[in-house]
């Protein structure tokens, strides 16, 4: 990297190239963050709306009619098929739009060049395309809410034949077509982004930035991007075959079907094939969502505990192991599809192995806190919160991953509770931690930390209030995706618990409003940031507060040490930036 700032500041930029079709990674990161959060807000509001129905089934809420219209909620009561529509789009938006694109798109784009010492991503143009494909797919997904028959309603996993037959559910008409088109475009965006991240990380590190000196954030982004490149294309193929079945009468997934009194001509396909293809992405997707958050929190915990992350190499090793294993566990979503019991046994074995690297990560986090000197910034609160959710949700995975136990809890609320805590909350907490921590880097201003703390405590209390009871409800056998449990006297005992869950869901939504106010206010009027507000070692804090094209005004700094020299004995201050050369008394520890 010998290019200097001078070469980069030649071209004057218009409004369009600076704020809209920007090729600058920092602007693109902001675009991803804001689009992702807006989509996430929509997804969260949907969950509040269907929680109204689940908490107080059949009761009239005029706000439902007001927000959704007469077609979806006549007289203030959601219809059963639109309930499924909301559940489906909520899941799709949260998993893909908020936690895949929103999370990786923001922080990979922001931090890869800044923490590695690069002027920008390897290809600014691909990066821009990646964002605009994502934007387009978001728009198509939102447009699908308004079409005849409603949006896709077959669950976010869109299993055919339900997703293939408009006769089976109205949402499988135009709504489903738009879902598939939106996701195909989304996958293109994700692949462009991932390729760019991988190439940048491998090629554009500054002088001295060995792979083993990269912050764990970058390791997490690298592993995530590789996982995405390996698995997203499989989802794309699954979606394409489904488009064929739906529109061109092929029979990849369909066979022997009689629907609405008519026998259809599909012959020889199998819906189980779709499940295999879907979960081949679907399971690694959990880690595509989770790993960036683990990377962000590793960094935040180390900075705020003023202590090196414990077991740096073990952290990398455990992420690599988790990523590898995650590709060979997809069958645990299919234990009760009638798969060969031997295959079920293999998937149980591989699935439970994930617990080992996960345990290593948890213990390493705890040891990092041990004898630390902990500052509780809002980012740190969310990072510690992530340790809690990762433990709470991860442990119940031991039950779901065990095929014999899965028989009885499969597709019940137990699953909903489990994955919302371990993947939903952990990923969201990581994303919030990242947003609070790197806000000064993104917007040059600081967020209000009192409001941030209130946001955290309200959030963690209310989300546990939402998802913990679901374990009890699920253990009683209540299936997920039920519009109401009133048809089953067996489940009557949970009426009040469901009200509690819904009340907490509403509280959780209000808590997020605090964040949005803080975010918008601080971005526009917050106090100006200093260059290195958290006394951090990594390179992004050596750039000026005001964004400049090319990141560093002069030469790119060289790196002389790993990023975790916090509270090093003998050093005057409790942090030593990576740009500081080793002093005489320090021996090179191979970092």
């Amino acid at each position: 990297m010998s290019t200097t700032h001078a070469e980069h500041s030649h071209h004057e930029q218009s409004f369009i190239t600076k704020y809209v079709f920007s090729q600058d990674h920092k602007m693109i990161a902001k675009q991803f963050l804001i689009t992702g959060f807006l989509m996430g807000f929509i997804g969260m509001m949907m969950s509040v709306l269907f929680r109204l129905q689940l908490g107080w089934p059949g009761e009239s809420f005029p706000i439902l009619t007001f927000l959704l219209g007469e077609n979806w909620a006549p007289d203030g009561v959601l219809t059963p098929d639109k309930y499924l529509a909301l559940v489906t789009i909520h899941g799709t938006i949260m998993v893909f739009f908020l936690l895949t694109a929103g999370l990786s798109g923001t922080f990979s784009n922001l931090l890869i060049p800044l923490q590695l010492g690069a002027r920008d991503m390897a290809s600014g143009f691909l990066n821009m395309l990646s964002y605009w494909f994502f934007f387009l797919s978001s728009i198509i997904m939102l447009v699908s809410l308004g079409v005849e028959g409603g949006p896709a309603s077959a669950g976010w996993t869109i299993y055919p034949p339900l997703s293939a037959l408009p006769q089976a559910i109205p949402g499988s008409g135009l709504g489903m077509t738009l879902w598939l088109v939106s996701m195909a475009i989304f996958i293109v965006s994700s692949l462009l982004g991932s390729l760019n991240y991988i190439v940048t990380i491998l090629n554009l590190r500054t002088k001295g930035m060995k792979m083993t000196r990269m912050p764990l954030t970058i390791w997490a982004f690298l592993i995530t991007a590789i996982l995405g490149v390996l698995t997203f294309p499989v989802l794309l193929s699954a979606a394409l075959l489904l488009i064929f079945d739906r529109s061109f009468e092929t029979s990849f997934y369909l066979s022997d079907i009689v629907v609405a009194g008519t026998a259809l001509d599909f012959n020889g396909g199998s819906p189980i094939l779709f499940e295999h293809l879907f979960w081949f992405l679907g399971h690694p997707e959990v880690y595509i969502v989770l790993l960036p958050s683990l990377g962000l929190t590793s960094e935040i915990i180390s900075v705020n505990a003023r202590k090196p992350i414990f077991g740096y190499r073990a952290m990398i090793g455990s992420m690599l192991t988790i990523a590898f294993i995650s590709i060979i566990v997809w069958g645990h979503h299919m234990f009760v599809t009638g798969m060969n019991p031997f295959l079920g046994a293999v998937f149980t074995f591989t699935t439970l192995l994930v617990a080992i690297p996960s345990a290593v990560k948890v213990f390493n986090y705890l040891t990092t806190l041990w004898k630390g000197n902990i500052r509780f910034t809002p980012a740190m609160l969310f990072a510690v919160g992530l340790i809690s959710t990762f433990i709470s949700g991860g442990l119940t995975g031991l039950i779901l991953g065990d095929s014999a136990l899965d028989i009885n809890v499969h597709d019940t609320y137990f699953v909903v509770g489990h994955f919302h805590i371990v993947m939903g909350l952990s990923a969201v907490f990581g994303m919030y931690a990242g947003a609070y921590h790197w806000f000064p880097k993104l917007f040059g201003r600081m967020m209000n930390h009192n409001l941030g703390k209130a946001h955290f405590w309200l959030t963690i209390t209310s989300v546990y209030g939402v998802f913990l009871p679901m374990h009890f409800i699920g253990l009683a056998g209540v299936p997920r995706r039920y519009y109401s449990n009133s048809a089953f006297p067996l489940f009557d005992s949970f009426i009040d618990l469901n009200e509690i869950v819904s009340a907490f869901a509403i509280l959780a939504a209000f808590a997020q409003v605090l964040f949005f106010i803080n975010f918008v206010y601080s971005a526009l009027r917050g106090p100006k940031a200093t260059q290195n507000p958290w006394d951090s070692n990594t390179l992004e804090w050596t750039t000026p507060v005001e964004h400049i094209h090319g990141n560093w005004p002069g030469d790119i700094p060289a790196v002389h040490r790993w990023p975790y020299d916090y509270s090093k004995p003998g050093a005057a201050s409790d942090f030593i930036p990576q740009t500081v050369p080793l002093s005489e008394y320090e021996k090179d520890e191979g970092h």
Binding site: A263, P271, Y312, G344, T348, S567
Partner: protein, 325 residues
Amino acid sequence: MITFLIFLAILLAVTAIVQMLSIYDLTSAIKGRKAFEVTERENKMQAFLWLIFVPSYFIFILWQYLVWGKYMLPESASVHGEKIDGLFATTWLIIIPVFIITHSLLAYFCFKYVYNKDRKASFFAHNNKLELAWTVIPSLTLATLILYGLKTWNSVMSPIPDEADKVTIELFARQFDWTARYAGEDEKLGRSHFRLIKGFNALGVDSSDANAHDDILVKGEFHLPVNKPVEFVFRSQDVIHSAYMPHFRAQMNCVPGMATLFNFIPRYTTAEMKQKTSNENFDYILLCNKICGAAHYNMQMKIIVESEEDYNKWLSSQKRFLASN
């Protein structure tokens, strides 16, 4: 009107918070302190909150267990289900201590090691012995769990031996109801084909197959004899459904275009279970547990387990397929 008021209230709250934010920033500026600096007192407060939060979290779980624990599934009503329940109990025995210990450490560390400008954190970057310990111990624990789990899984999924005396039942799913088909005296289900599904012949049973003649089709409820192996064959005519019988710890997807299998031995009759749960209205149920359309939430069938005599009596009072055709 109420909607309007709610919006007005939210608007006011947002304005109030924004005003508070700007006042806070102004006063910090006047006091000459960085608005984003976390003071020592604030740090201690957060550390203290963690110390409060984690025990409250435990109490919240315990409270739920005390109030709603009794509504969770009663002991298993099938033979294999007892093995599953045993595995469940063992798994909880591992999960709960790990959960409590790690969370307690988290709270304690947060409280104990809160920021103090006069103290320096320990530069403790790695320790091979520790790292080895928490790789090996989870591995051994998991090895046990995996072995126990696989043993249970294999015994649950093993087919009924051919020579055993068994009942064969097909559970046929469609949007949004269930039909059960008994094999009849010949113990063989007759052939069926989806193109034959029409009117009365809801399952597409092929009447030219002699095995089909004594098949029995029932709706609404189906009966099982206690202590006798039941072989279930699952089919669907439209979308994927899932036959879920929670009390028997039994679940299997019903997939159009293929047949899936599951078997179990019912352990208690409905009457016995009413006593065990001291609930006069107790009934075993079959419900759909795979999203299948708008009325998914109401796709069920009652199951009655009774003595073999009662079962035979009930079965002989049902119509044979050919008679009903």
